[in-house]
Point group: C2
Chain length 199, copies 2
């Protein structure tokens, strides 16, 4: 049976490769081979490699949203536990990938932010949306006095997300999830816990 | 006057370019143009682009050591202040570069760790040496009871360095040093301060 290839197949195949090799390290030929797509189809869907890269980012952000939003909205868990659970899930995904690949947004942030304004803009939007999602939950935590009243939820959310990206970077080089677990432990068992009741 | 090019010139020119464009995004031709070196000279000094990449990493680690070691050894400053001062200096360098480029070790960690074992190994060595340097100073801080006795200095050092790398990633996309200052503030004015006297 002949398979009809669509834009989604190409984006999915491209995502897998770019996660492992980076954007500059990925040739269009490798994507076509992986998706088993003739070259003409690629340019039917994407005007350029840049446009294709932006589509990968959008696809990844949508995938992540589908994984994280149900956890962030799960009101059977205390707010801080929801954020911790998100980070634990991402750590499990990293481990399931043999402690490699990591986060597309983090990878492309360091590789592409200086090189391509459209990438930087899209990555900024993605990171901002994550900060917004975490900050909403941290505001709940603040209302429940699980974090101090003088702590800015937006700043804290940005710090959690950027520190997690850093732990992912360290874990990728170490090829071990230990720095990620180390970070989750410090943040949720030490740094935020010790502030409890100080409001 | 004809200038004699040496290995150091090529490494320095390459470092500048790789910091901005990544390793895969940098062609040997661009390095040669920047260093004003004929192609033959490049291969006199480096057997391959990979060998050249490793030389850049070594050069960068040596440069960073020269900047950070005097601060870490400055016993006119309390131990935690020495680490804070190092991170502030790196933030100033980032700002002086127009909030771009960032840290070669961080950039190559995300770009190359999965692709090249020799790179991963060299990056791991570099990050370990930074962890070791910070951990020594944190042990001093622990002796002076500035951090709790039950906190593992190695784990804390690794967490500070990885979180800093994450803040650098976020700052690069935001093109602002705010996430870096945000991180330094949370870590040194909130998270570590609130533990004081809890030993």
């Amino acid at each position: 049976m002949k398979r009809v290839h669509n834009r989604e197949d190409i984006v999915q195949a491209g995502l897998e490769i770019v996660l492992g090799r980076g954007f500059n390290g990925t040739g269009i030929e490798a994507i076509l081979r992986q998706a088993n797509v003739p070259k003409g189809s690629f340019y039917n869907f994407f005007a350029s490699k840049e446009e294709f890269g932006l589509a990968i980012i959008d696809h990844y952000l949508l995938f992540m949203r589908g994984r994280l939003e149900p956890i962030l909205r799960d009101d059977s868990l205390p707010p801080l536990q929801r954020i911790r659970r998100c980070l634990e899930l991402l750590t499990e995904i990293f481990e399931a990938n043999g402690c490699s690949r990591g986060c597309l947004i983090g990878n492309l942030s360091l590789e592409m932010a200086d090189q391509c304004e459209s990438f930087r803009d899209r990555l900024e939007g993605g990171l901002q949306s994550w900060v917004g999602g975490f900050a909403s939950v941290l505001r709940l935590a603040q209302r429940e006095k699980a974090i101090p009243a003088d702590m800015d939820p937006e700043m804290l959310a940005e710090n959690i997300i950027s520190s997690f990206q850093g732990a992912l970077l360290r874990s990728k080089v170490k090829r071990s999830a230990e720095p990620l677990r180390n970070f989750i432990h410090f943040y949720f068992d030490v740094f935020l816990v010790c502030r409890e009741g100080l409001t």
